[in-house]
């Protein structure tokens, strides 16, 4: 590879990152949520919070999306669809889990139709806690994810404390 080719590929890489950071398109998937988080995610799109000023747009198709915003615990029926949606997204892709249920299963832990939290099904990059999180918190979480993108790093993988056995 000669010098000019190397330079071009580096430049292309910088342009891609710049584009990615400034216009991450998101897709929203509800895998068993109570709607609380979903209406707050919708609220971030509307004039008061206006998430589009960060270039973030909610898209209908997983094939257009960079970020998968998940809400709710994962139910047995929704699990396969959640995985399918994730697989249809082009690389590089990021997963954001919104709300307590997505983090731990929340109040629905132990219900018979629940597989578990989202990290049991997909690799989650950012967790946004709250029941439901405020729109500001959702924006904050996504912006934190974008900062990592800018630096070319992935967020630190989250280590769950091992469950104590009685």
């Amino acid at each position: 590879m000669n010098v000019s080719q190397n330079y071009v590929s580096q430049l292309m890489g910088r342009i891609t990152t710049w584009a990615r950071v400034n216009s991450p398109w998101a897709i929203h998937f509800n895998s068993g949520s109570c709607n609380g988080c979903d209406i707050e995610i919708l609220a971030t799109l509307t004039p008061r919070y206006d998430i589009e000023r960060f270039g973030i747009k909610l898209r209908g198709s997983p094939r257009h999306a960079d970020v998968l915003i998940c809400t709710g615990p994962v139910t047995r029926q929704a699990r396969e669809r959640l995985l399918r949606t994730y697989e249809q997204m082009p690389d590089p892709k990021f997963v954001v889990a919104v709300g307590s249920c997505g983090i731990s299963g929340g109040v629905f832990q132990g219900c018979y139709n629940i597989v578990g939290h989202i990290n049991e099904v997909l690799p989650v990059d950012a967790f946004i806690p709250g029941c439901p999180p405020r729109p500001e918190a959702i924006i904050d979480g996504i912006v934190k994810l974008l900062t990592h993108l800018q630096n070319g790093t992935r967020p630190e993988p989250i280590q769950f404390a091992p469950q104590e056995t009685a």
Binding site: D38, P47, R76, V107, Y112
Partner: protein, 559 residues
């Protein structure tokens, strides 16, 4: 007619079938009948125009009693008549269907089948409602002996028979992940050109198993679990549950607490209807209205936050009262916000009734007559837009609705335009009621002590959610948690009408038709099949795929 005369009439109507009557509460009649008499008893009630089927509560009475209990609740005004049927507990006991008389019963009957293993004879569809495709056969989560080990995933079975292609008709699948749906649901529309000839849906994507979970949590924990049935109408669920539990525990809630609950219920109705207006406008391609209504909705969200500390899932209700008091500062904030909202709502009312391009999407679409609304068992604004006067706040006032009544809004036209108009006018009523309560808030305590254990008994509580009547049946065994808690939410009853009305319309009207009933998947998660025309020939999914490959190959290589 008063509640007493209504119950008296029900007693007379049901006398030929009765094996024993009692009145568990002043507004309830409980009639024990034989399972085989069920269709004729239902027919007798329907012929005499006595009420509508509100819910079916199946309960497993356990190994000791060795019986299953089915309760068919019919409501008329404030009166509730329950037909009580006992079945043997041995596998798959039989009960005859009533869905030929009452279409909405078909969902409840499918629930009986999968949750409790009751075999409903003659029901049009006995496939899965809630449970996932990989759920093993013969495992019923509401049975006493159910354990998680039994429910280990098995090879998924095909629950939806494929509709495929017939002549010029195609199946258009929508969901569970789709831009027009904010929540997961799967629809299949059979279309002939652009015209819909059949509609079917599969839910269960957000079924979590809350009814079973309530039995493992105590009375207080359940309050917070039930609040999370639905984030949009969370206050409805806590109110209904708290009302029932308070009735069972014979706790008298202070009037100030009841009034504060009604204020929050009113604010919740405003936030829910404005949310719905935005989503429905978005489905119609009118994004400006979506942004406007959601901007104004933030006014209500701010009020809810100042009052309760939370934007969603307010948790203001506690068993025995409310958590937070209402101050003069709140009152000023509410008056100011109501001034703004009333002006905006009048503007929206003007838009939805005059904007020409919007009216093309709503006027004359999905028209439901009064008879159809009754037949399909529609509830809430969907029913009221067809002239059906059905509103629990007026028929059976609960909480502070005796003291601060609301007025009934109905419309005769029954199309989408009427539903928009009814909801907008209801918002004005809510604003007015909230102002009245704020100005006349009764003084006194906020909450009274609620016992840890609730005396044995059973009760029904009904609350008007923004979407229609929510029905709660609560049974206590005298312990720290309920023995059985049955929830029937309004969206479920409205699906029958929405999907039936879709047939004959254009495919492009589907998002509007679905939005028109304001569906809430998280609270009603079930699966439904309705009305299919000319599907004598159906293909499986793989056959359909094969057909598609052949078809496109033939197009590519013209002979």
């Amino acid at each position: 007619m008063t509640t007493e005369t209504l119950l008296q009439r029900a007693t007379e109507i049901l006398a030929p079938f009765s094996k024993g009557n009692n009145n568990p509460e002043t507004n309830r009649l409980d009639v024990e009948i034989e399972a085989s008499d069920l269709p004729s008893a239902t027919a007798a009630l329907m012929d005499n125009q006595w009420g509508y089927l509100s819910a079916i509560t199946p309960t497993d009475l356990g190994k000791e009693v060795n019986k299953l209990e089915l309760l068919y609740h019919f409501c008329e005004g404030a009166a509730i008549t329950s037909l009580r049927i006992y079945l043997p507990r041995e596998d798959q006991p039989d009960v005859p269907t009533i869905s030929d008389q009452i279409p909405v019963a078909s969902f409840f009957e499918r629930e009986l089948g999968e949750m409790l293993g009751v075999h409903v004879v003659g029901t049009p569809d006995s496939s899965r409602l809630f449970l996932p495709d990989d759920w093993p056969d013969g495992v019923y989560p509401l049975r006493e002996e159910f354990s998680m080990e039994q429910a280990a995933p098995v090879e998924p079975r095909e629950t939806l028979p494929e509709m495929g292609r017939v002549g010029n008709k195609f199946t258009v699948p929508i969901g569970p992940q789709h831009p027009a749906l904010k929540e997961p649901g799967h629809f299949e529309f059979a279309v002939d050109g652009e015209i819909i000839t059949g509609a079917r849906m599969r839910l269960g994507y957000v079924h979590r198993g809350i009814e079973k979970a309530t039995e493992k949590r105590n009375w207080i924990q359940n309050l917070y679990l039930l609040e999370r049935i639905c984030g949009i109408c969370s206050h409805t669920h806590t109110s209904a549950y708290a009302m029932g539990a308070e009735k069972l525990a014979q706790v008298e809630v202070p009037p100030r607490a009841l009034a504060i609950r009604e204020i929050v219920a009113g604010l919740e109705r405003i936030h829910s209807h404005l949310l719905w207006l935005g989503v429905a406008a978005h489905e119609a391609g009118f994004d400006t209205l979506f942004m406007y209504s959601w901007r104004d909705r933030e006014t209500v969200m701010d009020l809810l936050e100042t009052l309760t500390g939370n934007r969603v899932n307010y948790s203001i209700t506690v068993l025995g009262g409310v958590k937070y008091d209402f101050t003069a500062e709140h009152s000023r904030a509410i008056h100011k916000a109501m001034n703004y909202l009333e002006e905006r709502i009048r503007y929206y009312l003007h838009i939805v009734t005059t904007d020409a391009s919007f009216l093309q999407r709503t006027r004359g679409i999905g028209t439901m007559t009064l008879e159809e609304a009754k037949y399909f068992g529609a509830l809430g604004p969907t029913a009221r837009a067809s002239g059906l006067e059905r509103d629990v706040r007026i028929d059976s006032p609960y909480g502070a609705y005796h003291r601060f009544p609301v007025s009934l809004i109905t419309d005769e036209r029954g199309d989408l335009e009427a539903r928009f108009e009814v909801r907008m006018k209801e918002l004005l009523v809510s604003c007015f009621t909230i102002r009245t309560i704020v100005d006349n808030l009764p003084p006194g305590e906020l909450a009274v002590r609620f016992p840890r254990k609730v005396p044995a008994g059973e009760t029904v509580s009904r609350v008007e959610a923004p979407r229609g009547e929510a029905f709660y049946y609560i049974k206590s065994g005298g312990g720290e948690s309920p023995v059985r808690l049955k929830i029937r939410t309004p969206s479920l009853c409205n699906w029958t009408s929405a999907l039936n009305k879709a047939v004959g319309h254009q495919l492009a009207d589907v998002p509007m038709l679905i939005a028109g009933m304001d569906p809430c998947f998280s609270c009603n998660d079930r699966m439904i099949t309705v009305r299919r025309k000319n599907d004598s020939h159906t293909l499986t999914w793989s056959q359909m795929r094969e057909y598609g490959i052949k078809k496109y190959a033939s197009i590519r290589e013209p002979k």
